[in-house]
């Protein structure tokens, strides 16, 4: 067993990270940049970074993830990466012909002090082409931080305030799948809301098979839209922990007020998302959404006996863990462990607020954690269900706990990135996944004399 070394007793660690629950900023930046139309994400560092990030995204999305690298050598790490980035930009426009290059830094280029602002300022950029950048040192934050920083980078470089409002909503979705972004857009269009979404990886990392390889598929936020995002009437930063900074950047640069919302996972958070749209558009909630909500409530009523007081361990990215925990609480479950690898006290505070709201005690919510710690907690006090990414499967197997895959990364399953977790539809899907996991287990494990057609 891989996890034989896990001890029940929790030993304090200050230096050793075991089985991480996060990865580094640049992969988040790369994911955000892929959500801009005809954009080439560019990794300013060693070529391994770029290769790892592309592999990581490909393993999750099962799609090609395009990105280029400055391919640092020993020379660059001594003399700086200025000439690398200049040559890179020239080569990328010459051969791959994107409309925009989104550079993100790495631990190496940050540590040697490369000043991307001045490199980009001084370089020759072909007419009509754009280069932007975000600072994403791997030793600060996590992939979630990097995602937010890249979105801020696009805003910083491109968003403009013309003085004339475009009457649109700026939608800044947190680190979610293309399937979730599609669902957000579906809800927005059902509400007749005019909006600009940044980034938008739908149509890029879930692009259909056409028989041709499109380096730049049809999806992604258009550059002209990023420019005019500065004229929006209100920003909805969806994912309180990941997207507040980007919302703030748009406010700082163009004066667009912003409202942060939790990821719309579960009924209340979806209500909040729809109400925020409704307030802004001054329109009533679309009949179809009301119908979906009614269906969701119906499903929750039908299934609640199976969820009641079931304990669940939820691990992954901060906003996703909070969202999934909310849904579990709404169903009467106990989110015994809520763990994220990303650092930040805000997660702990939000989690405690959530637990207090539902009057639940004795749950552990921790940022800066890892899967080794989760395993130790589970060994001390087990749970009925686990929800999170692929890397928890070893714990699920070792402790014989059903696992519902939700979040990032999921590298050992298919289809997940096409399907939403957000919105009423996403909640229905999650309930089905969770119920199937619990009830399949019951069908498999119960004593012969207890086996029935309907359990």
């Amino acid at each position: 067993m891989m996890l034989d070394l896990t001890t029940k007793e929790i030993k304090k660690r200050s230096a050793l990270r075991v089985n991480p629950l996060k990865t580094c900023q640049p992969v988040g930046a790369m994911y955000a940049a892929l959500g801009v139309h005809r954009c080439m994400p560019h990794s300013h560092g060693s070529q391994g970074c770029c290769s790892f990030h592309r592999m990581y995204l490909t393993r999750h999305f099962k799609e090609p993830a395009i990105a280029s690298s400055s391919s640092f050598t020993e020379g660059a790490s001594v003399f700086g990466g200025g000439s690398n980035i200049k040559t890179s930009v020239k080569n990328i426009f010459d051969i791959y012909n994107p409309d925009i290059i989104a550079v993100h830094t790495t631990c190496l280029s940050e540590t040697i002090g490369d000043d991307l602002n001045s490199y980009i300022h001084d370089m020759v950029i072909p007419t009509g082409k754009i280069v932007v950048h975000a600072s994403t040192p791997s030793y600060v934050g996590s992939h979630i931080t990097g995602y937010g920083n890249m979105v801020s980078g696009f805003i910083k470089y491109l968003a403009k305030k013309s003085g004339v409002s475009n009457g649109k909503l700026a939608i800044l979705p947190g680190f979610v799948n293309p399937g979730d972004m599609r669902e957000m857009k579906m809800i927005l269009s059902l509400m007749d809301a005019d909006f600009i979404m940044l980034p938008d990886t739908s149509g890029v990392l879930d692009a259909p098979m056409t028989g041709a390889y499109e380096m730049y598929p049809s999806g992604g936020t258009k550059i002209s839209d990023i420019v005019s995002i500065g004229d929006c009437k209100l920003t909805l930063a969806i994912g309180e922990l990941a997207m507040e900074n980007a919302g703030n950047e748009l406010k700082r640069k163009c004066g667009v007020m912003y409202k942060t919302l939790p990821l719309p996972i579960g009924i209340e958070a979806t209500d909040a998302f729809i109400m925020a749209i409704s307030e802004s558009t001054q329109s009533n909630v679309a009949h179809e959404l009301e119908e979906q909500r009614g269906q969701l409530v119906d499903i929750m009523l039908d299934s609640h006996p199976y969820f009641s007081n079931k304990s669940v361990a939820i691990y992954g990215d901060p906003d996703s863990v909070l969202g999934l925990s909310t849904l579990c609480l709404e169903l009467g479950m106990i989110p015994k462990y809520m763990l994220t690898g990303t650092t930040g006290e805000a997660f702990n505070t939000k989690a405690q607020e959530l637990l207090a709201k539902f009057g639940i005690e004795d749950c552990v919510a921790k940022s800066s954690s890892d899967l080794f710690e989760l395993h130790q907690l589970i060994k001390t006090n087990s749970v009925d269900l686990m929800i999170g990414g692929t890397h928890g499967k070893f714990i699920a197997r070792a402790e014989d706990i059903p696992l519902v895959r939700a979040g990032f990364p999921i590298i050992d399953r298919y289809v997940h990135s096409y399907m939403p977790l957000i919105g009423y539809k996403g909640a229905m899907r999650l309930i089905e996944l969770m119920l199937n996991a619990l009830m399949d287990r019951q069908d498999r494990d119960c004593e012969d004399e207890d086996m029935e057609m309907v359990m």
């Binding site: 034989d4 030993k11 050793l16 990865t23 051969i95």
Partner: protein, 445 residues
């Protein structure tokens, strides 16, 4: 062919040759990637990590920010018959303060934390990109830790920028030499070491079984299904066989020079290469009984496969293959294997092939076959479409590219789940190629 050449970087043109046009200096390979290109290549750290990771009972601590550990956690897909420790991911997860004040203390503390609760025989410490830049002396930290804890703590100097994957292989080989050197022995036993197989899908066990069939003992497995106790016996072997020449020839050479162990390169991919390798091992050992057994065994196995292949050939004959793999040796074996199936290789490339590999490749392929070094998706796309490839053999990053083009795919890299090695591998490979090429799903593309 000029049409498809138009949007290829000028610097890249020397890394692409058509067999019919390969006069002059030949292919440009074994160099740095062109800055700004969408290279499929990984880095020094990745090379070191994939070679050492299969050592099952070692602590592999990645010293650096978290990413490097996250991306290579259980990346190798190698199996273990014993310990599973290697499947965990350990890192010092360096943060901003560590970058400012140095990470040495944190590394030393991480090693102490391991030793407080566990008692491994060996810890590998991987130095990533910034470790040298922030001035950490990991050699010193490891040395101190060795003395303090009385175990082996081996630094693996693998900053990503110091070259490409091949440099990492070398760093890993140096770490292995550091591990086994104290056990140098004049006294040799009657047995061999297997170098450069990583036990993906249990392939190391297949090689071991073949050797058992012909009466050859295996001393050490490097590094597939390796353990500390097993690997330190390596210096007593009387022959090294090298399966993945790209990663392990350097180690074999050092062991030859420093431990007096001769080596031969082998390849167990495809019937031809498998038989040839078994026979060469037998001849190298010069033992008559062994040679006789090897002849019998290989003859028996090949003839068994003939019936099998005859059944599948009609499904596959005339199809066209594209190959894009890591090292040259695998590309060479695959071309031969496709020949056995009457499939023509129309595009072939490697990430880290050497000049001599490309010479052999050129001698095996047809006039029009395109040979690429360190290619990128857009080149692969152009050439696969231009040459009407039916299947691509590659790694995880190439799979979705092939599928987008409506081209079948076979993973011959870390994510293969069936052994593709040896005679069993021929069966699995043929079935896999057949199932993907002839799946009904292509009707809808």
């Amino acid at each position: 062919m000029t049409g498809i050449n138009s949007n290829i970087l000028a610097d890249r043109k020397k890394s692409i040759v058509y067999k019919s046009g390969c006069k002059g200096d030949g292919i440009t390979c074994d160099t740095e990637s062109v800055t700004g290109s969408v290279s499929q290549r990984a880095c020094v750290f990745c090379g070191a990590r994939v070679v050492l990771n299969p050592i099952t009972d070692a602590f592999h601590i990645v010293h650096g920010p978290i990413g490097c550990a996250s991306y290579t956690w259980d990346i190798r897909g190698s199996l273990s018959s014993g310990d599973e420790l290697y499947r965990n991911s350990f890192s010092t997860d360096l943060s901003e303060t560590d970058i400012v004040f140095g990470g040495e203390k944190k590394l030393a503390a991480a090693i102490d934390e391991v030793m407080k609760h566990y008692s491994p025989n060996v810890i590998f410490v991987y130095a990533t990109c910034i470790v040298g830049v922030i001035g950490d002396d990991i050699n010193a930290v490891c040395k101190t830790a060795e003395q303090k804890h009385n175990i082996r703590v081996i630094p693996v100097l693998s900053p990503g920028f110091a070259g490409h994957k091949s440099m990492g292989y070398k760093a890993a080989c140096n770490a292995i030499m550091s591990l086994v050197s104290p056990y140098k022995s004049e006294q040799k036993v009657d047995g061999i070491n297997i170098l450069g197989d990583f036990n993906l899908a249990g392939e190391m066990w297949i090689i071991q079984n073949y050797l058992k069939q012909i009466g050859v003992n295996v001393v050490s497995r490097i590094t597939g299904d390796a353990s500390f106790d097993n690997i330190i016996k390596a210096p007593t072997a009387n022959l090294n066989i090298v399966q993945c020449a790209g990663s392990m020839t350097y180690l074999a050479k050092r062991m030859e020079e420093e431990m007096d162990i001769p080596f031969i390169k082998v390849s167990f991919f495809g019937i031809e290469d498998t038989t040839d390798s078994i026979m060469r091992i037998a001849y190298a050992l010069g033992n008559d009984a062994c040679i006789r057994k090897a002849k019998e065994f290989t003859k028996q196995q090949s003839s068994k496969l003939k019936t099998f292949l005859d059944k599948y050939k009609p499904n596959l004959e005339g199809k066209k293959a594209a190959i894009f793999v890591g090292g040259g040796f695998k590309a060479i074996s695959l071309i031969r294997q496709f020949k056995e199936l009457k499939i023509e290789t129309v595009v072939v490339g490697t990430q880290t092939g050497k000049k001599e590999d490309y010479e052999i490749i050129k001698s095996l392929v047809n006039e029009n076959t395109i040979v690429l070094d360190d290619t990128n998706p857009s080149e692969l796309e152009q050439f696969m479409l231009a040459m009407s490839a039916d299947i691509l053999v590659g790694g995880v990053k190439e799979r979705p590219l092939a599928y987008k083009l409506g081209i079948a795919f076979c993973d011959h890299n870390h994510e293969r789940k069936q052994p593709l090695l040896g005679y069993e591998g021929v069966i699995n490979f043929t079935k896999e190629i057949n199932l993907t090429i002839n799946s009904p799903v292509w009707r809808y593309t």
